[in-house]
């Protein structure tokens, strides 16, 4: 732990400020010539690591079907009440699928609870962070925008399997 310097412990040199001020000035001057950390955003894009929680998406198998079984757990756990799921039956092996799956991106707080609770690894946090809308209706993402091929989400699936 760093030693705490109280006023009474300071030496005379430290008390008259001037040397300490010069030290501080030297530090800032040095930093002015060090390399910059800025990323020139629209030209250079940030590639987030797998732990990044971007907008939640639905995983889509190779055959074009969603993994989701419309259990509604994600919608139940979502603290921001952003998810709306409507279930229906299908002929497929899984028997249920969501006819309607909507995430209101104006409500979502990117907490990742939906991903954590999903029994099917069907909803995952993507790396997509460019979310801008010009009206509120646009902010409600339907299945067309949510479905993403599993191949693109492999990074996150590995991460989730390792740490969940």
């Amino acid at each position: 732990m760093a030693k705490k310097n109280r006023l009474k412990d300071l030496s005379f040199g430290q008390r008259i400020y001037i040397t300490e001020i010069l030290k501080g000035l030297r530090l800032t001057l040095k930093n002015m010539f060090l390399p910059k950390f800025t990323m020139q955003y629209p030209e250079v894009k940030f590639d987030p690591p797998a732990s990044y929680r971007g907008r939640p998406v639905l995983a889509m198998e190779e055959n074009g079907q969603e993994r989701c079984v419309a259990c509604g757990l994600c919608s139940r756990v979502c603290p921001a009440l952003a998810i709306e799921v409507q279930a229906a039956e299908t002929e497929n092996e899984k028997e249920r699928y969501p006819v309607k799956f909507e995430i209101n991106m104006l409500r979502c707080i990117f907490c990742g609870f939906c991903e954590e609770v999903c029994p099917e690894e069907a909803i995952l946090m993507s790396k997509d962070y460019e979310l801008a809308f010009t009206n509120r209706a646009d902010a409600i993402y339907g299945k067309d925008k949510l479905l993403t091929p599993v191949s693109k989400l492999q990074d996150r699936i590995n991460f989730v399997r390792q740490f969940k």
Binding site: L25, N31, M32
Partner: protein
């Protein structure tokens, strides 16, 4: 010179100084942001024009287009008057500060100063004191607690530091035996700069100048975390811009004052040994003044991004218990010096 000639020459000088001041202020803001960015390992504004050099104009345009809001609880006249006082003070102070020696051209003597007043330094001190009113009025008339607190802090701070500032200046005047800025500069020829002769006075003046211009580490009147925006919380649009402008103009004036009083103004030591033609000497000296000015302004910004803000009690402690006795000590030292020299 006839009276008409005098008026015309003065008018030209005033216009030149006002335009140069406005441009310098806008670029000072730009460099403030740039240097802040560099000190924090960032790049800073770089979108408007190459390397962001048109950023100040974009800022001004934005401020012009903003709605001008006067709070209902505000005293309308005072609220409008305050930024005007601030601007007036900021722009009229530079009139007496010389940026170069007088020279002869077309058989006439010209000088690099709008008004060569024989009580120039007094005039500067008087006007900067008027500047306190701008801040106090704005704080009081806004009808907002944050503004009021900012205004009160500011008046207490400025009054406290004006004393040590005045005593430091007294040391300079004692050596130069004149209140005329040009005479003060001439008294510092060669290496007789006041920073060398009275280093303590220089430090007290520098610290007081920081306090008088409300710059960090003494920016309590506008301490953002506590007071929203301080005395200008309730200002918007061009009235806010006026405060902003005057703040930076005050910074230029303080820097110019420091250069004039302590760094030998336009003087370059040992320049006369090179035996250059008169025109060259004058140009070099003006450039020297500007370079010194730029260095001090850089120093202002540099300090701002290095040192955290003082607490209010620390501010008052330093003002009354450290700066005031130090400036008195300096006065004593200068008095002894004046007897020896």
């Amino acid at each position: 010179m006839g009276i008409l000639e005098l008026i015309i020459v003065s008018l030209i000088k005033i216009i030149v100084i006002a335009v140069v001041m406005l441009l310098t202020v806008s670029y000072l803001v730009y460099f403030e942001r740039k240097i802040a960015a560099w000190a924090q390992n960032r790049i800073g504004p770089n979108r408007v024009g190459p390397a962001g050099i048109f950023q100040p104009f974009a800022d001004v345009l934005k401020l012009l287009l903003k709605e001008d809001i006067v709070p209902t609880a505000a005293n309308k006249y005072m609220h409008t008057l305050a930024p005007m006082i601030a601007l007036f003070v900021a722009f009229s102070t530079f009139a007496v500060l010389p940026i170069g020696p007088s020279f002869t051209a077309f058989g006439k003597v010209f000088s690099f100063v709008v008004a060569d007043v024989n009580i120039g330094i007094l005039y500067v001190l008087a006007l900067t004191s008027v500047g306190v009113y701008a801040i106090t009025f704005s704080g009081w008339s806004s009808g907002s607690k944050y503004s009021l607190l900012g205004g009160i802090r500011s008046s207490a701070q400025m009054i406290s530091y004006e004393i040590s500032m005045g005593f430091s200046v007294a040391g300079v005047i004692l050596l130069a035996e004149s209140l005329r800025p040009i005479a003060i500069v001439n008294a510092q020829s060669g290496w007789m700069w006041n920073i060398v002769l009275q280093p303590i006075g220089f430090i007290t003046f520098l610290v007081s100048a920081f306090a008088e211009t409300n710059r960090l580490p003494f920016d309590l009147p506008e301490a953002e975390p506590e007071l929203v925006g301080g005395y200008h919380t309730e200002y918007s649009s061009m009235k806010f811009a006026a405060f902003f402008l005057s703040e930076y103009a005050n910074m230029i004036i303080s820097s110019a004052l420091i250069v004039t009083l302590y760094l030998g103004g336009w003087q370059i030591p040992y320049l006369e040994m090179l035996k250059l033609p008169a025109g060259w000497v004058v140009t070099l000296q003006v450039v020297a003044f500007i370079l010194k000015l730029i260095f001090i302004m850089f120093f202002f910004i540099w300090v701002r991004w290095s040192i955290p803000r003082f607490r209010y009690d620390q501010l008052m402690n330093i003002g009354w218990k450290v700066m005031f006795p130090l400036s008195l000590l300096n006065l004593l030292w200068v008095a002894i010096l004046a007897m020896i020299l």
